[in-house]
């Protein structure tokens, strides 16, 4: 969709991150060592939320034909600011310009073996908070607590104090193999047990105790009927 005026909208590439919550990692358990994975991941496991997925807060998000439910991946994105020269070093480092709420939707039933384009890059599948919040207003990311409500019911509380890579480590490790640019977004990951939502459901994501983030709110809409084969 087109960029809405007066609200946050990405200008760079949006990178999501898999398995960055310890519980999510533990849920995989011994399956990590078996086929097709063979071993736990070493580097951060990333994916791209392409520009067609971006939805403003308040916008409806249509499910694709043939899908009646979607996993709600509440998270926080680091919005990258300008790169800066490291004092005494010979290279630049990224900086965090702001944090913003995201609703990273995925169709259920997809494995982690192949890139999740078919399940995660569906039109509209990334709700974006209306406001970026500057780091000095946002508190330490390890203190972030998100609340996910569906039709007003609290369905998930997400604490960011038990990550595989905390925000600074994730940023450093990702930037170690691909330079993040000003305007790029890097999500902190999604907690295990993402709630399912269905057409007609109203999903709200809020940062507990931090009203500056606003409430990221999206309604899921029924997709078009499947065409007869």
């Amino acid at each position: 969709m087109n960029a809405p005026t007066g609200t946050f909208w990405p200008v760079g590439t949006v990178y999501g991150c898999l398995l960055n919550f310890r519980r999510e990692w533990q849920h995989m358990g011994e399956r990590m060592a078996r086929a097709p994975h063979q071993a736990p991941p070493r580097a951060p496991v990333l994916y791209v939320k392409t520009a067609n997925t971006w939805s403003a807060s308040g916008a409806g998000i249509a499910l694709p034909a043939g899908s009646d439910a979607v996993l709600v991946g509440a998270s926080v994105a680091m919005v990258l600011g300008p790169r800066h020269w490291v004092s005494g070093a010979d290279q630049t480092m990224p900086s965090v310009g702001a944090y913003v709420l995201v609703n990273d939707l995925e169709l259920p039933g997809t494995t982690y073996f192949r890139p999740p384009v078919r399940s995660r890059c569906v039109d509209g599948f990334l709700g974006l908070g209306a406001h970026g919040v500057a780091p000095d207003q946002a508190a330490d990311p390890a203190q972030f607590v998100l609340e996910v409500r569906i039709n007003g019911d609290l369905r998930q509380t997400i604490r960011f104090d038990d990550l595989v890579r905390d925000a600074a480590t994730l940023l450093r490790d990702v930037d170690g193999f691909m330079s993040l640019r000003a305007g790029d977004l890097l999500l902190l990951g999604c907690e295990a047990d993402r709630p399912l939502a269905r057409a007609g459901d109203h999903v709200e994501i809020a940062m507990a105790g931090r009203a500056a983030f606003g409430v990221l709110s999206n309604t899921l809409l029924a997709g078009p009927a499947l065409e007869a084969a």
């Binding site: 960029a3 990405p10 200008v11 760079g12 590439t13 990178y15 898999l18 398995l19 097709p36 994975h37 063979q38 071993a39 991941p41 070493r42 580097a43 951060p44 496991v45 990333l46 994916y47 791209v48 392409t50 520009a51 067609n52 997925t53 694709p64 982690y112 073996f113 192949r114 890139p115 999740p116 384009v117 078919r118 890059c121 569906v122 039109d123 490790d173 170690g176 193999f177 691909m178 330079s179 640019r181 790029d184």
Partner: protein, 258 residues
Amino acid sequence: MKHARVAWSGAIWDALEHGPDQLRLSDGRLVAQDAVVWLPPLAPVSRPRTILALGLNYADHARELAFKPPEEPLVFVKGSASLIGHKGQTVRPHGVQNMHYECELVAVIGRTARHVRRDDAYDFISGYSVANDYAIRDYLENWYRPNLRVKNRDGCTPIGPWRVDAPDVADPMQLDLQTRVDGVVTQTGNTRDMIFDLPFLIEYFSAFMTLQPGDLILTGTPDGVVDCPVGAEVVTEIEGVGALHNTIIQGAACESST
């Protein structure tokens, strides 16, 4: 026409091919092709472009890598920081054992594409280019494979030299591909051997993701990828579209194994 985007004399220019050795800049001046710095031959876009790339899209290459051909497209996404122009340099990280090129036909989307039928697909392609979708296999992991550390590195996807207007490519599904490393032919193929051809791919992607003008589809590579050392000059060429040159250079330090 063959479009380029170049840096010359302190500014960035749109340019057209003019004979074998020259370019015509957008203000009419002629400059020598070897006097410019080549950038990715893509018009700027108002939002980050979506860059889709196919894996295992030639049956022979799938066999080469010991995979059975996929039943639906194996697709991954790149960020635009991975793109670099013709005659650029791409870093081989210190200590890696297998970095190989991949010669690929690129389709450039020309119109907003949503729910496009394959019979109409070519109406949505404005041009073609050549990409070299380097992979560093040392970093492969079986999580969202091919993972971004393998495929989304800075400057690891040379593209160009030209963006050729679609009407100038009579049949994009009948083009010879060839890669030469230091002058030796190491990879040959023809786009007719794609498992999923462009009309299929446009229909498949546009069924769930709306493509916008300037978005790219890198269509995969055939059999014949080999490790390339530091200093190698790699030329990936597609009949009628262009010959894309790239030089592999040494990375500074060992990348942490994280």
